[in-house]
Amino acid sequence: MKEISVLVGGRAGDGINNAGAMVAQLLNHLGYFVYIYTDYPSLIRGGHNFALVRAADKPVGAYNDRIDYLVALNQETLDLHLPHCPDCTVVANADLAKSIKSGQTVSINAILKTESAPPITGNSVMIGAFAKAAGIPWEIVLEVFSRHMPKAADENLRVARRAYDEIQTARPVPAIAGPPRTLLSGNEAIGLGLVAGGLSHYISYPMTPSSTLLHFLAGNAERLGITVIHPENEIAVILMGLGSATAGARTAVGTSGGGFCLMTEGLSFAGMAEIPIVIVVSQRTGPSTGLPTYTGQAELQFVLHAGQGEFPRLIVAPADAGEAYRWSLAALHLAWKYQIPAFVLADKTLSEGTYSVDYDTLAGLPVADPVFWDGQAPYRRYHDTPDGISSLVFPGRKDAVVKVNSYAHDEDGITTEDAALVTMMVEKRRRKEAKLKEEMNRYPCVSVRGTAGATTALLCWGSVRNACDEVAARLGLRVIQSVVLSPFPDQQFSAACEGVQHLIAVEENATGQLAALAREHGVSVDATVLKYDGRPFTPDELFLRVQEAIAP
C-alpha cells in the first residue's frame, strides 16, 4: 500500500482541524484516499491539538504510528511528536518553534506582515509550506483553496504562496490516478444519511462527540429543509423527539453515553408506545464524564439493555462515513416501518474522523416503508396484526382518534391491567421483533472481509473495523464485522464464522462486549484484544497485539 501520513500540530484554538482538513484536501486532489484523526483535549484554548492525515492508494480509516511530514505550528508539536518520527520531514512555524534540528521553517508573523494579512490566515502559511515541501503542484493548491476556503481565498492564497516560494521540496508525494473524492466526517455522513431517509426534525443537547452532528444539521437546516432544536436537557430531547414523531415528523436525536443515561425513560416509552425514533449515540471514554474528547466502545451492552421492560430495538454500528450514511438512512426507514427506537451507535473515532466517500457507491440497502391507515375501519393505534405492526396515522387526520399510551394498553390505546390484554400486546411487540429480524436478512448485517477462507478471524464492530482490515491484510486473516447488533443477526453471523478455528474479538473496551453478545448467541470467542485508554487502535499496534493473541 502506498501511503503518506501528515501530522499538523499546535495549540487548541489554532484551527488545527481546519488546517488538517486542507492538508487532507491537497492529498485528496492528488488522487489519494484520506482519513483524518483529530486529537484534542477538552479545552477551548491552550493544550496540544493535532490532526493526523493519512493518505493511501486504498481506502483507509485508521492512522498509524508512522509519520512522514510533521507540520508544527509550535515548539510543543516538535517536542511531543518528533521523537516518534525522527526521519520525518519537518515544516515548522519559525515564530514559535525555536529549536529545530532538521527541516525547514517559515515565519508566519513575517509573511502576514508583508502581506498585511489578518492572523486568521496564519494556517494558510503552513499549508503553503507543507504543499511545497511535499512537492504538490501550485495548481492543486490553488484549486483546493478556491474550493474549500472560498471566503478570502485570495488573501489566504497570497500568504500560502509566499511560504510556497520560501520552502524547498523535501520529499515529493507522487500523484496517483483518481478523481478527488468527497471528504466527510462520520457525523456529517450520519446527518446526510438521516436526511436522505426523510429526516424532518433533529433534536439534541450538546455533548462531545455528538455535538458536531448537531452543528452540521443546524448549520444546514434551511438548505436541507429540516428543523433543528437544542432543548434544556436530554430528557427533553428524547421526549420532544417522541412528540414530533407522534405528530408524523421523522425525527432523530443525538447524544453520547452520559446524555443517553437521561434518555432511557424516554427510550422505554418509545418501546411501549411504539413511537419511531432514531437515537444516535456517539461513544466516548467512560464511565461518567470520562475522557470527553476521546473514544471508546463501552456502550454496546448499555444500548442493548437500556430502558425498563422488554421491547424491540434496532442497533447499527457503522465503521466509516460511507457505512454511516447508508445505515443511518436505513435505520430511519426501519424505525418507521416497525415503530421502534433505532440506534446509530458511533464513537468519537467515527463521529469526528473524516473519510473519503463516493456518493455513487452509497445506494443499495433496501428501503422499508411504513404501513399507513387506509381510513376504512375505525382507527386503532395498536391494532393487533399477524406481524404485530399496526397502521400509522397522526393527530390531525380526519375521523381518526389517535391514542398513544405509555401504560400497558388495549388496541385503542386505552390503559389496561387485564392479564390477557397485557399478554396479547407483549406478544404483538415480540412479533414485530421477529418480523424485523426476518427482514434484516435482506440487509448485509454482518460483513466478512479480508481473507474469506482464513481459519483465524478478527471479530469487531464499529470504527475498529478499519484497523482490523489492515491487520488482516498483513496477516492473511478473516475479518467479521457485525454492523447490526440488535436484533442479533444469528444466521449471517454463524455463516460468517463458518470454518473459523480461532476467533479473536478486537474491541475498545475492557470487558469484550461484542464477545459477550456473541457468546450469548452460541459463538464463543477464543481470545480478546482490548484497548481502553481512549485512543483508537492503530494498525501497527493492533498488528502486534493480534500476533500475540495468535501465538501467545
Binding site: 485528496n28 474550493r147 478523481p179 473524492r181 468527497t182 471528504l183 466527510l184 456529517e188 446526510l192 436526511v195 436522505a196 424532518s200 426534525h201 437546516a221 438548505r223 436541507l224 429543509g225 429540516i226 428543523t227 432544536i229 432543548p231 434544556e232 436537557n233 430528557i235 427533553a236 430531547v237 421526549l239 420532544m240 417522541l242 412528540g243 414530533s244 414523531a245 407522534t246 405528530a247 408524523g248 415528523a249 425525527t251 425513560e265 424516554g266 416509552f269 408506545a273 466517500v357 456518493y359 393527530p395 390531525g396 387526520r397 380526519k398 375521523d399 381518526a400 382518534v401 389517535v402 391514542k403 398513544v404 399510551n405 405509555s406 401504560y407 385503542d412 390505546g413 386505552i414 390503559t415
Partner: protein, 282 residues
Amino acid sequence: MTRNLITPAQNTWCPGCGNFAIQHTLKDILAGLEKEGRSLDDVVLVTGIGCHAKIADYLNINSVYTLHGRTIPVATGIKLANPKLTVICCAGDGDAYAEGLDHLIFAAKRNIDLTMIVHNNRVYGLTTGQYTPTSPLGFKGKSTPAGTTEYPFNPLELMLASGATYIARGYTRKMPQLAQLIRQGIAHKGFAFIDVLQICASFFNMTEYYQSRVYDLAGHDTADFEKACAKAREWDYNRDAPIALGVFFERSLPTFDDRYPARDVSAGESTRRIRDLFEAAR
C-alpha cells in the same frame, strides 16, 4: 358528525375528586369548539402520570399519555411538527412542579403555543398521599410523617419570572370561571398556564379552606406585570391569605413555533441538495 366525547373506559377517580370538574369543563369546551365548527381531530391532549392523567383514557380525543413530568417536551414536539394542532397539556402538581419543573420553566421561556392545565391538588394521590412542591409547610404525608420541613413554592410567581404569556388560577368548585379561564387559555397564542386548585377527596380535602378564601380577580389589569406579581404573591400557598382566582397576566409575544418556519423541500430537491453537499466536500 358530533362525536361522543367520553370513551367507554371505566372511570376510577374517587367520589368527590376534583378531576371530575376538570374533565366536565374540558368536555364542554371541546363540545363548544366543535359547535363553532372547529374539528376535534386537530386537538391533542397530552397528560403526565398521576390521577389527573386518566383524563387521557376518558376523553375521546387524540391523546398522548406520556411519562411523569414529561407532558411539556412531548407537547412541544407535537406542536413543532404540526403547528396547526391545538395542544392541551393536563399535568399534576407532582408532574409539573417536581419531576418536570425544568420543562415548565422552559415552556414559559420559549412561549410555545400550548395550554398547560395543572391539576394542583397539592398532594400525590395515585401514590397514596405524599407531599408535593405546593403542599404547605408541615404537611404530614406518608413520606413525611413528622411534617414537611420545606416551604411550598408559588407556581404563579415562578411562571411570571419565567416569561409565561398567560397566567391564571382556577378552582374546581368554580366551574363556570374555570371554563372561562381554560377557554381563554386555549385561545391565547403562546404559553398559557392555568394552575387549578383541585380537591383531593381522599388525601387532602381543602374544600372548606378554599371556599372561605377564594375571590374573583375582577377589575385586575392583566397587562400590568407588577400588579400581576403583587396579586400572585398575595397568597403563597402556605400562610393564610385571600386566594385570588382569574387571569393574573396576559400579553402577546411571538411564539416558539412561529419562529420555526415550515420547511418545504421536496424529496427530489432534498436529494439534489444532499448531492450538492457531497460535491462541495470534494
